[in-house]
């Protein structure tokens, strides 16, 4: 299912939200910057799909095809989302851009390293369960804490996309 860009603010895509509830998403994660919130919801959808596959009550062998498919897709989407978010930070001259990019790069490296180990281990379940747990906690903290700083800056500068 493709994403549908509907408008641009500072060259940044806004993705139309699909009318699907996201179990992982909580209202207090919303930053009040539409361009960021729309991408975060999409990211949470992807992660939720991955976690549901990971935690489903079937044997590991039965899960592997779904896990591999969603992991591969999510790897690409995480990189794409981080890149878009960094472009947005640059477009508003966010002063914490460098530090935030370091955090993104650290996570991308971790995702790539785990994927490599997973392939080499021929689909080790424990490795993927550990990855899922860390990803869940990392993502929530990143959105609720680190990304909040971008939103605060954008709102302070009147560049959140909510104005007028």
């Amino acid at each position: 299912m493709g994403l549908r860009p509907i408008m641009n603010i500072s060259g940044y895509k806004i993705i139309r939200e699909r009318n699907v509830s996201i179990m992982l998403w909580k209202d207090n994660y919303e930053l009040g910057v539409p361009v960021i919130d729309a991408q975060h919801k999409e990211l949470f959808r992807r992660v939720e799909s991955f976690l549901q596959a990971l935690r489903s009550e079937v044997s590991w062998d039965e899960k592997i095809p779904k896990i591999n498919g969603t992991l591969e897709f999510m790897k690409g989407y995480v990189v794409e989302h981080f890149r878009d978010e960094e472009e947005y930070q640059k477009s508003i001259n966010y002063p914490g851009y460098g530090f935030h990019k370091q955090i993104h790069d650290g996570m991308v490296n971790y995702v790539q390293e785990v994927s490599k180990q997973y392939e080499q281990s021929e689909s080790n379940e424990r490795l993927m369960q550990e990855f899922g747990g860390r990803l869940l906690a990392w993502l929530i903290n990143h959105v609720a804490a680190e990304d909040q700083r971008i939103a605060d800056y954008a709102k302070k500068k009147g560049m959140s996309g909510n104005e007028g």
Partner: protein
């Protein structure tokens, strides 16, 4: 030093619980009341101006509640997923503590979380154990640190 560290730990735990679990009421009390048969113990090594370890002791019930809130899913036992998620929480709290300490010109780094047993018998210059009560269960923070020579 002990007071600064204690305050930084309590504040960081409070902030993380508020942001990630929407829990703003935390109580800080002595270790005497912290008695659980099953715990997940996560050690975060500290290096720099202070050296040693902070051990986060999460009772099983607290661990499962935390992961349930984050994921919206039910978990019946502490498995690799739960342990990893809880380890990341300890990592996040510790990262915030190190940032707070740097504002007091105490420069430290943290090491990746590892699951551990309770701390050993080795003595440290700074030793504290505090229990933090929350709506989803208690956690205990054991601090074992020396000032770097």
């Amino acid at each position: 030093m002990k007071d600064k560290l204690h305050r930084a730990l309590i504040d960081a735990t409070h902030n993380v619980f508020e942001l990630m679990f929407n829990i703003s009421e935390l109580s800080d009390h002595p270790i005497d009341n912290f008695k659980y048969d099953d715990e997940v113990n996560i050690a975060i090594g500290i290096v720099g101006d202070l050296e040693g370890v902070v051990i986060y002791r999460f009772p099983t019930s607290t661990s499962l509640n935390m992961v349930k809130i984050m994921s919206g899913m039910e978990f019946e036992e502490v498995d690799a997923f739960v342990t990893s998620a809880i380890s990341e929480i300890a990592n996040i709290i510790s990262g915030n503590v190190v940032t707070a300490l740097s504002n007091d010109d105490i420069k430290c780094d943290i090491l990746p979380p590892v699951q551990c047993e309770k701390h050993g018998e080795k003595e440290f210059e700074i030793e504290t154990s505090r229990c933090i009560g929350t709506a989803i269960g208690d956690i205990c923070l054991d601090v074992r640190l020396n000032r770097a020579s």
